[in-house]
Symmetry: D2
Subunit: 242 residues, 4 copies
């Protein structure tokens, strides 16, 4: 089968529940009791004040009464990190035990920062663009060659009619896999805080892997549209998940 190479992570919004008004309605129950129900239908820019207050003081629970489902196509090494987000996240992923995985593999985009800079150290890795074309070419050629050989042997293994869950052991973590992801605004903010690098805006700066940041950036865009006031408050308060 012909191999396909990709440099992107595809995030599609499939369904959505809630919005800024539900954050307000959820918070208002503390001070208004059953009257809070009335806020569940009121969309207003006036809501920003309360949302900003909740965000600043880290009152987190009002941000849980929403939900969003994504379908995501990403390399396994991205899933390895994403699946470590346990709370407020639900997943269902393509299975190498039940189907033949597609020959779709990750290759870095030419602009992907990848060369270590001085002062690089574990925990705070920083990289710059590779200016040497040849280095980039050697890297990509190597990955392609390895991917190709791995997929060829994978298909040979499948042809032996053995357990597909064993045949796939040679497949690289660079192979793509599809997965459903459902989360709520609060768990999404926790994810975005840890998986985007914003040295200027973030109170607690993270140094995520480039490729999961691609995914996070796509999610962030959807988040900003679905919950605009919540997004603005999160951004203005240092991108700290409440």
């Amino acid at each position: 089968m012909d191999l396909k190479f990709k440099s992107t992570v595809d995030v599609t919004q499939v369904q959505l529940m809630g919005g800024d008004h539900m954050v307000v309605a959820a918070a208002k129950v503390a001070t208004t009791g059953t009257d809070a129900m009335a806020f569940a239908n009121v969309t207003s820019d006036d809501n920003f004040g309360l949302i900003n207050y909740l965000m600043k003081h880290r009152h987190g629970t009002p941000f849980e009464h929403g939900a969003v489902t994504f379908f995501v196509h990403a390399p396994i090494f991205v899933w390895r990190e994403w699946h470590r987000h346990r709370i407020g996240f639900s997943y269902n992923e393509e299975s190498g035990r039940y189907k033949q995985l597609e020959p779709c593999f990750y290759l870095p985009d030419r602009e992907r920062p990848m060369m270590k800079v001085d002062g690089w150290k574990p925990g705070r890795p920083k990289f710059v663009r590779c200016e040497d074309d040849r280095t980039f070419q050697v890297l990509c050629d190597g990955l392609k060659r390895s991917y190709t050989e791995a997929y060829r042997i994978y298909e040979e293994n499948l042809f032996l009619n053995v357990d597909p869950g064993l045949a796939r052991d040679c497949l690289p973590v660079g192979v793509y896999s599809g997965c459903w992801v459902t989360c709520n605004p609060r768990s999404l903010m926790a994810f975005l805080s840890l998986r985007t690098c914003e040295p200027e805006a973030a109170k607690f700066v993270s140094y995520p892997l480039w490729e999961i940041e691609l995914a996070a950036r796509a999610c962030e865009k959807i988040f900003a549209e679905a919950y605009p006031l919540t997004y603005r408050a999160w951004q203005e308060n240092g991108r700290v998940a409440p």
Copy 2:
């Protein structure tokens, strides 16, 4: 302030996401990869077979890609139990620290089973209707008297201008409180399994408090309408949360 007495638990559905089709779409990703996205829009009775299979074999995660938000008005002794459901449940409740709680209190309905039967024991409490009118009257009169006195002193305490979070310490667990509840179909099934008593239908029979069962029954009705095939499969497979 005049006291109000209620015997019900009010559950209002406020928002909903997902449906039986999303259960199918979530499960299908294992065997079809990115093609699973197509199932996210297909509503069909044919979906029952797969949903039933997932339920029977306790494949639980496909039931997490949905959400429902309720507004619930219930006595504090019901919240004391409900809030113990930690996973897949989000709450925001009325606060005795930030507002005066309403003088609305729980009294049992005349039909509420309450007399111990022979063989009663902790863990499996069973009760029958109180056939003696006087016993029922004494109980209700006592509760009313106690509620009234407690609320009177509560208002006196508030009048002293002390911390409302201290003034309310005399309020009984029978006082009503409003709360937002958001959960997903899987966490909802776990709740329903534990908080309804179905000796004939349930593989694992629970003996919940009557009043939380009132709440659970109202949620079950909403669940059955929102996710009819999931509900049917859950019911036919012994009401075991997958």
Copy 3:
């Protein structure tokens, strides 16, 4: 039965697992793989540097490989708040359905800050000591009277032989209840951050109810002894749960 009044929250440490060395061992696996096992037995002050680094940059997971179990005796209004901590917390509590609750009730200590100060507002409640003896006396007398009447009617209800889970509806939230609490260092720090008020030390200041702060302070003391370097790092980094 004679009523008992208490002003304390009793927290007893029952079992403990892990320590600062396990935080280090857990973190070291990222950079040393299987060699990390060796760190599981090394207690050293040198560990502070790494622990401090993890805390500062909010690498939270290494703080989950420990556990502590408390037995806690607290009023129900404290449990109402504590049980809202869902993640990394396990609870088993005394049941009003299965036993007669003891006539033990909460009364504020004379020093308990309780008078509203100017600028009081929901979300950031501040109180000062009640300097007026009479106000304090009226409050305590009212609570005692209400508690006494409620417990008397509770016993009458029990005497009717009705469901104990119904008989107790008049019991106030000021009644004490015993509960097992198990958590890990990370979830404990999240609890302490939200349930102690430290305007000078905390990056995100919380304004908890006085009585849950009593509980939190007792837990904090145990935490400081069990995981001294972790505690110091948490304190020095603004008491933000990683």
Copy 4:
């Protein structure tokens, strides 16, 4: 670097908290209140009755007041499944971003069931031993060849001095990785129920991947020794996690 091949999953118990007595003590608080503390130190075979009752009726929370930490060495395709257990599980794993992964790879043992049997279908995969030596040899040779080529290119990539988190994209899911795992008896039972195949003993039969069952079997052995009465009750009640 020379490659190493393994067919095992290594599970080492590093620390442990609790025991059968804590299950009993946790449960007893419901019926005895503060007296339950006394049970925290009593080890007795008499405890089996209560533990069995809790297990049979799926009272799950008393099984959460314990903890165990494992250090596990397993292939990445095992971690891919294990890490999907979100609740009551904590993980810290070796990182391909911060260290060079060891050239240690998984090869199936000669006895590993791997040939599809008639009636094989997704969701309930069954396999038998491969009786054809040549098939087994072809599979192992292919895996070895692919692993070797992948690791060679991985080292070339590292030599280019690019981001190690990019260099490793060609590494196969058959490469080993070390990870700390902490869980409690309840979450461990949920894991064991889903990751072992016991058609005769289990009420809900699972069909896990062979290699994660290797891990689960090692955990089960440790579990049986640490919490013998709990283990026996779990086994006798159909291996259903309470």
